[in-house]
Symmetry: C2
Subunit: 325 residues, 2 copies
Amino acid sequence: MGMMGASLAAGLRKQPNPPAITGVVRSERSKQWILDHDLADEAIASTSMDVFRLGLSRYDLIVLGMPIAANGVLLENLAEIYPGDFQWAAPSFSDQEQGVESSNPEAKRPLDGNQDDSLPLITDMSSTRTYLEEVAARYPHLPFIGSHPMCGSEDAGPSAFRDSLFRDRLVILIRSTLRNSDDEQAYKLLNQFWSSLGARVSELNEKDHDLVLAYLSHAPHLVSSLLATVTANRSEVQTINAQSPIPITGGGLRDMLRIAGSNPEMWKDIIHTNRKYILESLRDFRSGLDELIETVESDSMEWWSDWQTRSRGFRNEICGFEEKR
Amino acid sequence: MGMMGASLAAGLRKQPNPPAITGVVRSERSKQWILDHDLADEAIASTSMDVFRLGLSRYDLIVLGMPIAANGVLLENLAEIYPGDFQWAAPSFSDQEQGVESSNPEAKRPLDGNQDDSLPLITDMSSTRTYLEEVAARYPHLPFIGSHPMCGSEDAGPSAFRDSLFRDRLVILIRSTLRNSDDEQAYKLLNQFWSSLGARVSELNEKDHDLVLAYLSHAPHLVSSLLATVTANRSEVQTINAQSPIPITGGGLRDMLRIAGSNPEMWKDIIHTNRKYILESLRDFRSGLDELIETVESDSMEWWSDWQTRSRGFRNEICGFEEKR
C-alpha cells in the first residue's frame, strides 16, 4: 500500500458497510503503520503474491497498487496461482458485502468466514496500460481488467493518504484490444466499486489511453520537472530568488511546479512503458517551442494576441473551464 | 483600472483611514462600474494624463496600471506636466492620511481640500522593468520609482478584483541602474504603501528583475500556453478528452494550464519588452527538452530517478516548499 492504496482503504473504511481489507505492504514497518492507522483488517508484508497461493478464494477483488513493472510481475505471479482453465463468475454478494482490497488483496467476507471456490477479480491502479495488457494477453485465464484512477498526488507513501482521494476523479477502465474484454459483469462490478468511492468511471482501449495520457499527463509532468531544472540551472536566478523575502515565483510557476519530480520510482516505469507516445508528445512540444522561439526572435507582436487567445480557448476546452471574463 | 487597479482600490478602501481615490478608466462604462462598486471617490474616463494638467498637486501618489507600453506613454505624458526642474519631496502627512491612487491618480486629501505645491510620486504595476527605466531615464525630473506587485491573475478586467490581492504577495521596487535612484524617502513611502496592503516588499535593479522574471514567470506562462496549444493540436486527444464524462486532465495539467493564455493584451507587451531574457530562458528550456527527448529515445531508465529527484529538490528550493514525505 502506497499513497493510493492507503487512500483506497481509507475511502472503503468510511463506507456504511465496509468490506474486509487485507493490505499487502513491502516492510514490517509499513505493516505496523497500516494496522496502527486501521487501514486494513489484516496486513501482510510481502513483495509477491505467493502468500495467496492458499486462501485466494477468501477474496472478491485484488487491486494491484505497485509501480507498473512490479504490477506486471504480480500478474505473472497470479497467473501461476489461478487454474489454467479458470473462468471468472460474478460473486453472489449484495452491494453491501462487496469485497475488495488495496495495494493488494482484501477479504470479501469476515476473514474466518466460509470459503467457496470463486476466485477474485483482479484490477490495478497503473498510469500506463499497453504494457500490462501485453502481459495479461499472455494469460487469458486471468480475470484482469485494468483500472486507471486519475488521482495521483505529488506526495508519495501511505502517510499521504486521503479518504476522499477518488471522489469526483476519473477512473478509466480498459477495454483491451489485445484479448477478450467483454465480460460485462466484471466491468459492472468494477464500475460499482470505483463509483462507490465517488469516482466517475469511463472506458478506453489501452492504446487510446496511453496516447491521451501521454499528452494530458505524462508529458506535462516531464515539462514541469524540466521547468524546475532549467530554472534552477540559471545560477543568477537561483541566487536572486534565494535572497528574496518570499519566493519570486508568483502563483503561476508555483502551480506549474507542483507536480515536478513526483514519485521518481513510479515515473521511471511510466516513461519506460509509454515511451512511444511520450516521445510523440515531447516532439510535438519541441516543434511548438521552436515556432515560439522564432516568433519571439522576429518580434512579431501581432502574433501574440491571437496565439494567447487561442491558447486560452484550448485550455478551457481541455480542462472544461468556463471563462470568467 | 483593470483587475489590479480595482483590487488596489478595493484593498485601500478596506483600510481604517482610507485615502481618497481618483480612478482613471478608459470608458464611460468602466467609469460607472467603478463608481457603482464604490472603488473610487471620483472616476475619470481618459486614456492620457492630460486631464491632470491642472490639479496634479491634489495627489500624493500616481499608480500607473496600464499595460507596459501604455504606461511608458503615460510617463512621457507626465514628463510634460511636471516642471522640468522638479524635485520630489516627501509629503507631510501622517501614515493615516497617506494618499494614493490606482490604475491612476488618487487624491491625498478630501478632493476639495487645500492644495499645496507638492506633486505626486509616480509608480506603476508593470511586469517588466527595463523598458520603463529606459523611458524614465530620459526624464530625470520625473519622480518615478517602478513597482512590480507579483499578484497577477489569469482573470482580467476590473470585475475580477479582490481586495486581498496584494496580501502576502511580493512587490519588487526597482533601483534603477540607468538613473539616480537613491531617494530613500520615496522608497520608504512606497514600501509603506504596499506593506499597508499586506504585501512583502523587496528591491532589485531592472536588469536582474527582468532576467529573473523571464525564468520565474514569463517563460513559464508561455510554456503553459504552449502546452495547451500542443495538446489541442493532437486531434485524437481532443476528441477522446471531449467524450470523457469529466476531463482526463487530472489535477496536474489543470494546474499547469491555469495561466495559459492569460490576458493577451498584457502579454504582448511583456514579451516585446523582455525579449532578450525570455529568449534566453526559452533557449535554455529547449536545450533541456532536447536532452530529455534523447534520454527517452535511449530508454536510459536509470537516468530518471536521479533526474526526478533533482527536479523535486529544485522545485522545493525555487518555491520555498518543504517536502512532506
